[in-house]
Symmetry: C2
Amino acid sequence: MDIVSAPTLSLLGHALLGLLAHGPKSGYDLAQGLRDPVGLFWHAGHSQIYPELARLEAAGLVRHTVVPQADRPDKKVHELTPEGAAALRAWLAAPTDVPKVRDELVLKAFCVWLADPPAAARLLRDHARAHEERLAGYERRLADFAREAGDGLHRPASPWFGAHAVLRRGIGYEREYRDWCVWLADALEAAERPS
Amino acid sequence: MDIVSAPTLSLLGHALLGLLAHGPKSGYDLAQGLRDPVGLFWHAGHSQIYPELARLEAAGLVRHTVVPQADRPDKKVHELTPEGAAALRAWLAAPTDVPKVRDELVLKAFCVWLADPPAAARLLRDHARAHEERLAGYERRLADFAREAGDGLHRPASPWFGAHAVLRRGIGYEREYRDWCVWLADALEAAERPS
DNA sequence: CCATTCATGTAATCGGTTACATGATTCT
DNA sequence: AGAATCATGTAACCGATTACATGAATGG
């Protein structure tokens, strides 16, 4: 074997391998899977996906077959090779950096002392509503999962387990974000009308 | 006035304006302010900051004076112009997109059904500890702030208020992240040793 | 002696977004 | 008639990271 210098696969590459581990998919399918808000904590457009798939194939981690279709364009269906599955497992076992967050709204919160408090509170209530909606969507999907997957949701070797874990994170994240928006909006308004 | 086509300032540019609103600073000071984990929800290296400061100055939003120093290199101290302060306020009043998150650990969680459960649980406990430490650090800083800032912490027009809001978000975020890591590690281990 | 802090810059590279490009079918 | 879905690609650009580059003073 010539594992002389593994060209250190990008995170997007691993994301694609992870989706393909559920079964063969076209580039289009992968783009759907990484589309907001389905890919809660990863996302990419098709213009990034197609070149990356070509790179994965060149590295021997993925192979494709062309599936001709009547009534719609032919598609290239990609699947993991054994090397691809091994690369995915190796990545899973490696340590992970804690993510560096960039969040424009929190940056604005840092500057909120310069803003008009009622206007800022209004913008924050809009965000609270947006996060509330996402939260409700994730909770609905978790309920759907529970019906479809049964005990697969709690068995670590089931693909449902991974989706469940991500959904849980989404639910916790959106709830916390919503609560913070409400707290800050309340604080801004409380100071506006003193008793 | 010739506000024909404002070249749409980058988010980093606004971050720098926001820091300079607290008072004049050198590029080096700004880099410290945007250094992990001081800039909890924004960060940048000096190689990004120096060119951006030049752009802000070219746009008339910032000006600098050179301060000669004995015993250490001279520095360029930057301060907001009235136009810079106005640009900052305009940005604050504009609507904000909800941030798109990319988080490698959550991506791994999606694939965790392919991993060795005890090994994955161990990695998650490491992350839980890292978030626990950040949480403790933020809580300590909030306590320090409360002593230093007094009621400034709750007055929306005080610069302390913005820092307080960001810290609160950091605390909620890290607490939620830690809890999720612990939940997932527990779930992986619970399935390993069935009663 | 070596690492760190202060202090400022440039260059190469990489990852991601937006726009360009094409084209059939199905739904409103 | 126009929009949306399926399907695949390329090119230009922008933001961010990493590495290159310099140099004095301080602390272990």
